[in-house]
């Protein structure tokens, strides 16, 4: 079943002194997220990630288009009881303690009074804030506030969780904890839609990712598919203290570290390269095809369209990119 269906959602703001000049924050976004999926929305700062989330949360209103969340129109009040949201750099009522805040949100989310207190305690335990539960939030560190933010997002056991930059500003330990929590949510069968510009997190957590830049969705794909794509290059590691000239003449990019050499060269030069190693009597450690990293996919999608030689996806390669491209041209997804 589809968890989120975004249909040509668009947002522009009027800017300038007289507010006459329209500025496009989000350009006709079309995206589908399946239930139980962990989807990473990637893009640099100001790309349109937060605008998309705000539109879906009903905090800003779309200029055009619509979206359906869990089968209901996004402005249907019933949607809100089934979703959780963590805004970017969350700020909460600092006159409240973590326990009071969670209790307040539980009240607003319609958690039944009988189970409310137990649910709040369970959440405090889950995010590791039990000892600080009675402390006013003004005394909390950034990492602690982020944990409170996560707790309030999942407090009412939502089916779908939206997280805006959940790892932003956290130390490595904090990031690890957030990653673990997202993994747990996946195991519980929740759908997670999170925005980030930390690619390693997206690569480790997401089933699929979408890249957005300058308000435009540049690409969507399954992480496993994107990172398994071969790049027509091979990486050879062998024992040596300097790079053999024969290898350099084959176009290898090599670096020496200690008594090991790491060389990357075109796939068609594989046999010739092995011949050089045999001739020089060098010991081969490994030979692996170079696969594309998520970072490379991300950088490629961020480049202006005219400099992307493979902007139109290859057949059978990135199916969703192709589908997206077709829908953008009005052919239909």
């Amino acid at each position: 079943m589809v968890a989120i269906e975004i249909l040509d959602l668009e947002k522009s703001y009027l800017v300038g002194f007289w507010r006459k000049r329209p500025k496009l924050a989000l350009r006709s976004l079309r995206l589908t997220i399946e239930e139980g999926e962990v989807f990473g929305f990637l893009g640099p700062n100001g790309a349109g990630k937060t605008t998309t989330l705000k539109l879906l949360m009903g905090l800003v209103f779309p200029t055009a288009g619509s979206a359906r969340i869990l089968g209901m129109e996004m402005d249907d009040p019933r949607v809100k009881s089934q979703i959780g949201f963590l805004p970017e750099q969350p700020y909460f009522y600092d006159h409240l303690s973590a326990r009071e805040l969670l209790n307040y949100y539980a009240q607003l989310s319609g958690v039944p009074p009988k189970s409310r207190a137990a649910r709040v305690e369970q959440m405090l335990e889950r995010v590791g804030l039990r000892d600080a539960a009675g402390l006013q939030l003004r005394k909390f560190s950034k990492g602690m506030l982020q944990r409170v933010g996560l707790a309030q997002a999942i407090l009412h056991d939502p089916k779908l969780v939206f997280l805006d930059e959940p790892m932003s500003g956290l130390d490595p330990m904090g990031r690890r904890e957030v990653r673990d929590l997202i993994q747990q949510l996946r195991q519980e069968g929740k759908t997670v839609f999170f925005s980030t510009h930390i690619l390693s997190d997206a690569e480790a957590l997401c089933d699929r990712v979408g890249v957005i830049h300058q308000g435009e969705l540049r690409g969507v794909g399954a992480v496993a598919e994107l990172t398994s794509e071969r790049q027509a290059k091979i990486e050879i590691i062998f024992c040596a203290t300097k790079v053999p000239p024969g290898l350099i003449s084959l176009g290898a990019e090599a670096r020496v570290s200690g008594d090991m050499v790491n060389a990357v060269l075109p796939e068609e030069q594989q046999e010739a390269a092995l011949e050089v190693l045999r001739h020089e009597r060098l010991k081969l450690i490994s030979l692996t095809p170079v696969r594309r990293s998520l970072e490379e996919y991300y950088i490629q999608k961020l480049r202006p369209a005219e400099t992307q030689p493979d902007e139109i996806p290859k057949a059978g390669d990135r199916k969703e990119d192709a589908r997206m491209e077709a829908s953008r041209k009005g052919v239909g997804a």
């Binding site: 009903g58 905090l59 700020y91 006159h95 607003l108 319609g110």
Partner: protein
């Protein structure tokens, strides 16, 4: 009352009572009531009049300052600090948020007024040594002061639903001052011919009639407040507040929370 409105109102009340600034203002108002005793003691035969006049004026002024100070921040502060995002991403409708905030602030002001009123009555007891029958009208004046707070809260919410905190404070305070002079404005409208007169009449009816809600001088002299006036003022304050809150809701419903 819808339970979500109740929860929002309670949280607003809790936020206000945990704010130290509130206590400073109440302490200052009580100090002024205390000072009224000193002024009363040097005013031979009019001690009661001075205490009631000064005491109730202090309650009214500090209450208005509190209403504006807290009221303007109710919506704009929540937008600036983004606390609103986690509230509106729950099954809370925007009108429920605005109405809940209004009730929360009104509740805060009623409790404040109660404590400040206790101060006034203690001061009155100190200078007069006993309560008299006419002191009951002081309660009517206090009730009208609460009605003023209701309107000021609604106006503060209305202005803060579309402008910055500073501008909302300026607009609300300006309307309070103009509204307090609305009787004079109506008098001016009556004697002004032509367009100027029409304009003055329109403004006089548009701004809240705070002067009708100010019976401090009347009760200080021990004059009764007719039941008819209490009824009219109650209906007027409720209608005016409802209109301002409806305006705030209409604007806030359409507002993009950037």
């Amino acid at each position: 009352m819808n339970s979500r409105i109740g929860y929002i109102a309670f949280n607003t009340f809790r936020e206000a009572v945990r704010d130290r600034v509130l206590y400073n203002l109440i302490a200052f108002a009580l100090l002024l009531s205390g000072a009224a005793i000193l002024v009363g003691e040097i005013s031979i035969d009019i001690e009661r009049l001075v205490v009631v006049n000064l005491g109730l004026t202090a309650v009214s002024l500090f209450g208005v300052v509190i209403a504006i100070f807290i009221g303007i921040g109710l919506v704009s502060k929540e937008i600036d600090k983004r606390t609103l995002y986690t509230v509106l991403s729950r099954p809370v409708r925007r009108w429920e948020f605005v109405v809940g905030k209004f009730f929360g602030l009104t509740g805060t002001l009623v409790v404040n007024t109660f404590f400040m009123a206790v101060g006034v009555f203690l001061a009155l007891l100190y200078v007069a040594h006993k309560f008299e029958k006419m002191d009951v009208w002081v309660l009517a004046a206090l009730y009208f002061i609460v009605l003023q707070f209701l309107i000021v809260c609604a106006l503060a919410l209305f202005f803060s639903s579309f402008s910055t905190s500073l501008m909302a404070a300026v607009f609300t305070f300006a309307l309070f001052v103009i509204g307090s002079l609305s009787e004079d404005l109506r008098g001016f409208a009556r004697i002004t011919p032509g367009v100027g007169g029409w304009l003055a009449t329109a403004i006089a009816y548009l701004v809240p009639n705070f002067s009708a809600l100010n019976v401090i001088n009347q009760v200080a002299h021990g004059d009764p407040v007719p039941g008819r006036v209490i009824l009219y003022n109650t209906v007027y304050a409720l209608l005016y507040s409802a209109m301002a809150i409806s305006g705030a809701v209409l604007i806030f419903q359409r507002r993009n929370l950037k």
